[in-house]
């Protein structure tokens, strides 16, 4: 290994067989390169999906209603179900210990929103003060709707960063300005943003009590939204939220006289359950990328083995000459393997550095849905390089050993 004479002999050989060296190196380097890029994008996909879930609180539970589809206790199917304030109050009291955040949602319909002379096309929703945490919103300016606003049925309104950008001229501070909702003035008290990006910023929020009172909502609500107290583990959290979902459905069905097996009258969307499916999906995606990666490596190993076979075949005569001049079989095998390992290692690391460099360079700028910051575990990449080196050495060993052990005279006759 540290025989300087041998290194010189190997460098001589490499220098004088540039094409062969280049081709061997290229196949190794490209194999590693492709693998690292693939693994990087697998990771990027996982990051991307994790980010999609950041748009809402990850343990959000959301209730909405539709018409009944089954006859039950003498009531006809096709009956619309409307949630009531009582339902919301009952649930918040009954499950107080499990809930972290809670808010009813009342969608204000058929209203016109004006700012000065301009008519705005955003939807208006009445919400509670916890809604910020359920939707994972942040405040850019001012304050959120608070319990006092709800008590006082205050005519206050929240707009989003997007709305601020689209509606208010440069230099005008929206805070304290008034929006006109169907002829009633609402003062802007805060500007929110949403982790989920601009598509979640198309809504104007007012206190739910105000919405019900001013816009003829009586005691109806459209949705109930909750988050649960954090649990010790992901699985426990999923179990707890599944149980809560079931309890919630049972209660609401009873309260509204809905058949227990009606599939669509009472609906509860549970993010955690979705999250579990998505995490399962990302796991599968990762598995897929690993599978493709391993196939790439196998292709790389086959390629390297192939080249080693050809190299040894091509050098059979040279091996014969060297043996006629006094080379020992092991010396010949050692020399060929030494060279092969050296080339594979250098080109393997080149591929590794290039691909990781590329990921480092473009990774942070990748802004596609579901792919965020593709990156790769350095240790994984490093082990694949070593795997390829070992594979190349093993693949080179057998033909080299055979070539070194055929009779010198046969090797010399090899054309």
């Amino acid at each position: 290994m540290f025989d300087i004479e041998r290194w010189q002999e190997i460098f001589d050989t490499i220098r004088k067989n540039k094409l062969r060296t280049f081709l061997t190196g290229l196949s190794v380097a490209s194999g590693i390169f492709i693998l690292v890029i693939l693994l990087g994008f697998g990771q990027g996909m996982q990051n991307g999906i994790a980010k999609e879930f950041a748009s809402d609180a990850s343990n959000r539970i959301w209730v909405w209603t539709q018409v009944t589809t089954k006859e039950y206790k003498g009531l006809n199917p096709g009956r619309p179900i409307a949630l009531k304030n009582e339902n919301y109050q009952y649930v918040t009291q009954q499950f107080a210990r499990q809930l972290e955040d809670r808010s009813p949602v009342f969608r204000v319909r058929d209203v016109v929103v004006n700012y000065k002379k301009e008519t705005l096309g955003y939807s208006v929703q009445g919400i509670g003060s916890d809604y910020q945490f359920i939707e994972n919103q942040f405040l850019s300016q001012g304050r959120y709707i608070n319990p006092k606003d709800e008590q006082n049925t205050a005519k206050v309104v929240l707009v989003s960063n997007k709305i601020k950008k689209e509606v208010f001229p440069e230099g005008v501070d929206p805070l304290g300005e008034y929006l006109d909702i169907s002829g009633i003035k609402f003062q802007i008290i805060g500007i929110y943003g949403d982790q989920g990006g601009e598509r979640e910023e198309d809504r104007i929020f007012i206190p739910v009590t105000t919405a019900q009172k001013v816009f003829n909502g009586a005691n109806r609500v459209d949705n109930l939204s909750f988050t649960l107290q954090p649990a010790a583990s992901f699985d426990e959290a999923v179990d707890a939220s599944m149980k809560f979902t079931e309890d919630l459905k049972t209660y609401l069905r009873e309260a509204h006289t809905v058949a227990p097996d009606d599939p669509s009258a009472i609906n509860v969307f549970n993010t955690l359950e979705e999250a579990r499916r998505y995490y399962g999906l990302t796991g599968n995606i990762r598995l897929f990328f690993w599978f493709v990666g391993i196939c790439t490596i196998i292709a790389g190993v086959v390629g390297v083995s192939n080249i080693m076979l050809i190299v040894v075949k091509e050098r059979t005569r040279e091996i014969g000459i060297r043996k006629a001049l006094g080379a020992r079989p092991w010396g010949v095998v050692g020399m060929i393997l030494h060279e092969a390992i050296f080339i594979t290692a250098i080109s393997g690391f080149t591929g590794l550095i290039l691909s990781m460099g590329l990921l480092e360079l473009i990774g942070p700028h990748v802004e596609v849905d579901y792919i965020v910051n593709p990156s790769v575990n350095f240790n994984v990449a490093l082990s694949t390089v070593f795997l390829l080196i070992i594979a190349g050495a093993v693949a080179g060993f057998f033909p080299a050993w055979r070539a070194a052990n055929i009779h010198t005279i046969d090797a010399l006759r090899d054309e």
Partner: protein
């Protein structure tokens, strides 16, 4: 120097057994220049390969410089070849990606001689065969005669006890052949033992002794009046 007793060798070709050497006996002393003559198929190349430890006999004794050569493993054969023997082949067998100097230096590498030293020595031998100016040329840039001279320099660089030449002039025209034979004669004049396998009458007569081989047996072993190759050059 060489002593061979009752050497037999046969090859199996499918179901046929080809008996190539059928009991060869001869001795060669130090400083001899022996031609082994015979038509193709007479077994002369096989004999040379056995003498060169490139091939093994089925039975018989072979003693080289007092060392009995038997039970050869590849490693042992490699060691003996490096120590005792120099080879010159019909097809030169130079390594095509190494220049003349590196080719000549190669056997010295296997003698574990340091780089600087072996290059100096290789250069000395290249000078002896008149190719000093061509030291850094690749084999592909040399003529046939030059290639064979490089091969001879390579064979001599290891300072072998015995030089084995297998049809050294077989791939060369007659003028070049005489140049190469002139070189071989000079090396022999310096006291080296040389065995030349050839089927050419004139080449054989440039040696001091001719062994005629036919169908695997020696039919004639004669001392001859050496014809100096320099007379033709």
């Amino acid at each position: 120097m060489i002593e061979i007793k009752d050497l037999h060798k046969s090859y199996t070709m499918g179901s046929n057994v080809l008996h190539v050497l059928k009991g060869i006996n001869f001795k060669a002393e130090d400083g001899e220049l022996v031609a082994i003559m015979g038509s193709s198929g007479s077994g002369k190349s096989t004999l040379l390969n056995i003498l060169g430890m490139l091939d093994e006999a089925d039975s018989g004794e072979y003693t080289l410089d007092g060392v009995p050569i038997r039970d050869l493993t590849e490693t042992k054969a490699a060691k003996y070849r490096n120590k005792f023997l120099g080879f010159v082949f019909q097809s030169f067998n130079l390594i095509n990606y190494k220049n003349a100097l590196e080719n000549v230096a190669l056997p010295l590498y296997y003698q574990r001689m340091p780089r600087k030293e072996r290059h100096d020595k290789a250069m000395k031998y290249l000078e002896q065969v008149g190719l000093k100016e061509w030291a850094h040329h690749l084999p592909s840039e040399l003529s046939g005669g030059q290639k064979q001279r490089v091969a001879i320099a390579r064979a001599m660089a290891a300072e072998p006890k015995l030089l084995l030449a297998d049809e050294p002039t077989g791939a060369l025209d007659s003028t070049t052949s005489y140049e190469v034979m002139d070189l071989i004669q000079k090396i022999n004049d310096a006291g080296n033992t040389i065995l030349v396998v050839t089927h050419e009458e004139d080449i054989a007569h440039m040696c001091k002794r001719i062994i005629h081989l036919r169908d695997g047996v020696i039919v004639k072993d004669e001392k001859v009046e050496q014809v100096r190759a320099s007379a033709y050059v």
